[in-house]
Subunit: 234 residues, 2 copies
DNA sequence: AAAGTTTTTAACCATATGGTTAAACCATCT
DNA sequence: AGATGGTTTAACCATATGGTTAAAAACTTT
């Protein structure tokens, strides 16, 4: 028997054909979304026959999973690892923002892919993938809660702050296409379109957020009591 | 002659059939995106025949335009009006955040619709619609720039701050579906899913942002020199 | 080289989907 | 009532799209 291939579902695929397929698929899913991406075009871009794609990877859902799954796993691993090795709430927060920003810059497809899923409610994700998103989410929540209960941060609304940080980062990285479009309108006001300088982004975000949340003497005493995050269905 | 109908393209449609169509279309476009929305389903939900939809509104693109166009126009008008009647940079910023937040809460479809377009690069929008987005964008930029050049705000990176505020608000409102999905994972950590309390959101965001940007004595002198927003293609 | 196995491909299929048409329907006017 | 013209609808159409198949090609093993 030759390589048992049938790659997918296990760690990083080595089969060059599969690698090429996943590469192209990632681009297409990020640019056009799950519904908008065309299997035929992905195959064409990868320079192979569509049947080969189905043989090597599987159907559209499997293809999407093979693309997004590893991205999310890496994201969750990266964030957790980098956050957990930091001692203080502030350094942990910086690690969080830094690791996310770095990922978003390295993997320019991540922001569009995840912004789409955010709006779609993770419609095309498995529970395991949603779980990885939850890990990233949880990491930030823990950092903030710890920072608050230790008095290092003020008692701010966690969900709002989470949205600001995460939404801000992802929007910064993911809304580049719209900014580019706006720029074409030829308004005299120019917008920086692409090219994300990672560390500068991190510095600015951290600068803003820290000033926003770091405790000062005249702030109300922080307590870990704001943990009562309720679920209100619909 | 009877009602000349052929509604669309002019101000608010009165024809009840058209109103129902646009209502359902808005829901579908927000939930499934332009590609994901099905014209047949929109017609079915509106309780009419698909041909009626085409007769009254036009094709899928026209339908989308009829839904999104007025939303964007109202958004731009609202924001500009409320911002412009305020005197100080801080009150103008609050007016900006407040008007956006209020809109996002009143029109729950706005956040998903715009987040999708942000990632899609406004692919399905006319130049006029993109122009309205640009107005909203410009409003914030002017407020921040004015605040900076008048020394009321620190000289922070405008684009980053814009992304934080706008991305944060839209993500807060638009990522509810994903939060709902995460909540189904039954992790012991609960997430507030729906129900957006508008004024509380505004207060929290303003609280955070103001602390982040308001000038204090020991800040570097603010100057309007950071206006050099460059366009870097790609 | 022959047999066996994996991989690739052209052609094909079923269905979904955006869009159209011709006829029926309905209100208004004469 | 009949003519007129806007409105709705069932049926239809063309095409795109995800997915399959059977055979050819390529590679391994003996």
């Amino acid at each position: 028997m030759v390589k048992p291939s049938r790659s997918i579902a296990r760690g990083t695929p080595t089969n060059p054909v599969v690698v090429r397929i996943l590469d192209c698929a990632q681009t297409h899913f990020a640019r056009f979304g799950y519904e908008g991406a065309r299997v035929d075009e992905i195959a064409r871009d990868a320079g192979i026959n569509k049947a080969t794609l189905y043989y090597q990877v599987g159907d559209k859902a499997a293809l999407y999973h093979a693309v997004v799954g590893p991205l999310l796993e890496r994201m969750a691993d990266d964030v957790e690892r980098k956050v957990n090795r930091e001692p203080t709430a502030e350094s942990r927060l910086r690690a969080y923002v830094g690791s996310l920003a770095q990922l978003l810059v390295q993997q320019r497809d991540l922001a569009p892919l995840l912004l789409r899923e955010a709006v779609d409610g993770g419609e095309h994700l498995t529970d395991a993938m949603v779980g990885n998103i939850a890990r990233v989410n949880q990491a930030l929540r823990i950092v903030l809660n710890d920072g608050i209960s230790q008095g290092e941060f003020r008692a701010v609304d966690i969900l709002t702050l989470q949205s600001l940080v995460v939404g801000g980062l992802f929007f910064y990285a993911g809304a580049a296409p719209l900014r580019a479009r706006v720029a074409t309108l030829g308004s005299h006001v120019a917008l920086r379109a692409g090219s994300i300088p990672a560390h500068r982004l991190v510095d600015t975000v951290m600068d803003l957020v820290l000033r926003g949340i770091v405790s000062t003497r005249d702030d109300p005493l922080a307590g870990g009591d704001d943990d009562a995050l309720t679920i209100r269905s619909n």
